[in-house]
Amino acid sequence: MSELRWNPLLGEWVATATHRQERTFLPPADYCPLCPTKPGGFPTEVPESTYDIVVFLNRFPSLRPDPAPPAVEGTELFPVRPGIGVCEVVLYTPNHDSSLAREPVEQIHKLVRVWTDRFRELEKLDYVDYVFIFENKGEAIGVTLSHPHGQIYAYPFIPPHIATELKQSLDHQAATGRCLICDILAEERRDGRRIVAENESFVATIPFYARYPYEVHIMPARHLQALTDMSVNEQRDLASIIKMVIAAYDRLFDISFPYMMMMHQRPTDGAPYDHYHFHIEFYPPLRTKTKLKYLAGSESGAGLFINDTLPEEKAAELRAHVTPVVWDERRGR
């Protein structure tokens, strides 16, 4: 069951999704549903003995292409609609003990190509207005499956966070004639203190307005709106800068660093979004090796984030752990 309930107070949808557990027999203790199915072994989600990168519809989706009618009837004040959309799981590698940060850059490059392909396919669906590619990583943010994977949600509307960015971008363009993120990028470069990593096509920075201590934004130097706008070189440079950032994350405290990774692209509702500018945002929940940043009263209830660190200092700290990315031409070209 999945449905969308309207919150008239905030003017946004809430997805209500309940699932019946249909598992009838218990898997072994070390069972990972995202590993390949070993010959003669307990069946996993993937009915093959190996894979490179796999994408599939989530077994317990919040949104689905063929949703059942809502469980309750809506009213004028409380509209409800079926939870139509797509929830995909993306398995990055068959190696259970790996992580995106530990994968070679060639594998991340393959993933960039797969993401691009998913965006291109999902944006064609007429009920999809926004394709959201993301990864939740680490027990610290509640991820129970450690197998390296990400997700893609295809929403039937533009989600609020993106809508705000779009409005700010449009207002900025109306006022100045320029792209907001192009201007942010220029200002970050002029200042320089918050830049974490850089290559020919991308800049990674802990932005001036970071809400989390180690919040990194990756922005393309060229004004583009989606993965599908990238050149072959930009796809490679994107893989490189992602590797630089998340490998530095892992070195920071010498642990597999938890994060949320979110891709902010143009909507797919067919309207023009030339004023928007692609970027990736990372929200790591850690303040220190052992301390979590909680979304408490001010953050959750008022919307004011309290960051008790200086982005200029955190960027310097993270930058010290960035190392160059070396491509192995035999492996992925």
């Binding site: 093959e48 599939f56 077994r59 190509r113 797969v114 396919e121 064609k124």
Partner: protein, 60 residues
């Protein structure tokens, strides 16, 4: 089984193979390599095309 592949300029080709799971969900295997069949194509024949949204395309 239909496997599609198209070459990117200067990149190794990416291949997609779509199967339908027992409960009707789609699953897409992405492989990379010059072999048009993809490096880990299984011997077993699987039928493609489930209730997958969208249509298959040829620029992958």
């Amino acid at each position: 089984m239909d496997t599609e592949s198209t070459e990117w300029t200067r990149e190794i080709p990416m291949h997609r193979r779509r199967i339908t799971l027992a409960d009707g969900r789609y699953m897409i295997f992405y492989t990379f390599g010059d072999d048009a069949a993809g490096p880990d194509r299984p011997a077993s024949e699987r039928r493609e095309h489930g209730d997958a949204p969208g249509t298959e395309e040829h620029h992958v």
